[in-house]
Amino acid sequence: MQLQDTVSFTRPGVIRGIQKSLPMAVGVIPFGLVFGVMARQSGLDLSAAGLMSAAVFAGAAQFVALGLWHEPLPILTIALTTFLVNLRLVLMGATLYPYFGKLSWWKSYGSLLVMSDGGWAMQLQEFEDGRRDAAFLLGNGIAQYFAWVGSTVLGFVLGTAISQPEKWGLTFIVPASFLALLVGMWRGKKDFLPCITAALVAVLVSRIIGGNWYILFGGLAGSLTGAFFNRQEMTVE
């Protein structure tokens, strides 16, 4: 974390971001297909489904919105729910501050417009590996954006012709990438307590409250536990 003042933002960084994120983008496709199918079943037309994926570009929030999609449209409920489901992105954006805070506003905020969970985690991994190019996030966003919007439209058009992508293991790509990124980020013993706490709270919240709250609660509980108990961290590093 000492080299934070040398963050760059280059075209090769964008290209690297696109290339390295292709497997993750492929992993997004099954979810986009399912979203397209479900959007059709929920009464959206093709333009509405495509517009939602293109303008919102946030899978979890869009699936939740479909669940609320009844006439007359509960407009404010859908907007507020979208905000709450995406609150985790606030925390993710905040952790990028040491790096993106150094960039001009249009580079940093422009990149964050296409930040997803996976892009955030991969960008942090890039920094951990000693690479300084913050344009990776934009590249990741571009790859995932096309995969998400394209597969939404495809899913809508093909309808229920696509059945059971989970049989092929395809829906496992996204969880597998998160798990692998977690292993890559592992800093050793001091991560044990915050991560166990995060896992326990996330599992409990997902069972009791349901929905998407478990990410926010688990992440907050784990990180705050780490902040309370890993006091030696500042001096050891």
Binding site: P23, M24, G27, S47, A48, L51, A55, V56, A61, A65, P72, L73, I75, I78, A79, T82, F83, N86, R88, L89, V90, L91, G93, A94, L96, Y97, F100, L113, L124, G169, F172, I173, P175, A176, S177, F178, L179, A180, L182, G184, M185, W186, R187, C195, A198, A199, V201, A202, S206, I215, G218, G219, L220, G222, S223, T225, G226, A227, E233, M234
Partner: protein, 99 residues
Amino acid sequence: MSNEIILTIGLMAAATIITRLGGLWLMGKVKMSPFVERWFKNLPGALLTAIVAPTILSGGLAEQIAAVVVVLTMIKTKSLLLAMSVGVGAVFLIKNLFA
């Protein structure tokens, strides 16, 4: 497409943009204390764990075995692509050979 639908999608987009940009914006406003700094160092791992743990626990046996395979492959090779591929391959094999 009706005006209601366009308005709904527009508000969803606005709400999402606020969450995407809000974290970075807030960090420019608050003063970093040592506690906040420790908190943020612990946040990435905790958030990722929170995303992954319920998904894997609620998945089937195939996904759980594959999760172990992903972790081991990642520890051994440090390759994200390889770990993902082996994990997906494991799910496919288990579901199609043993199910």
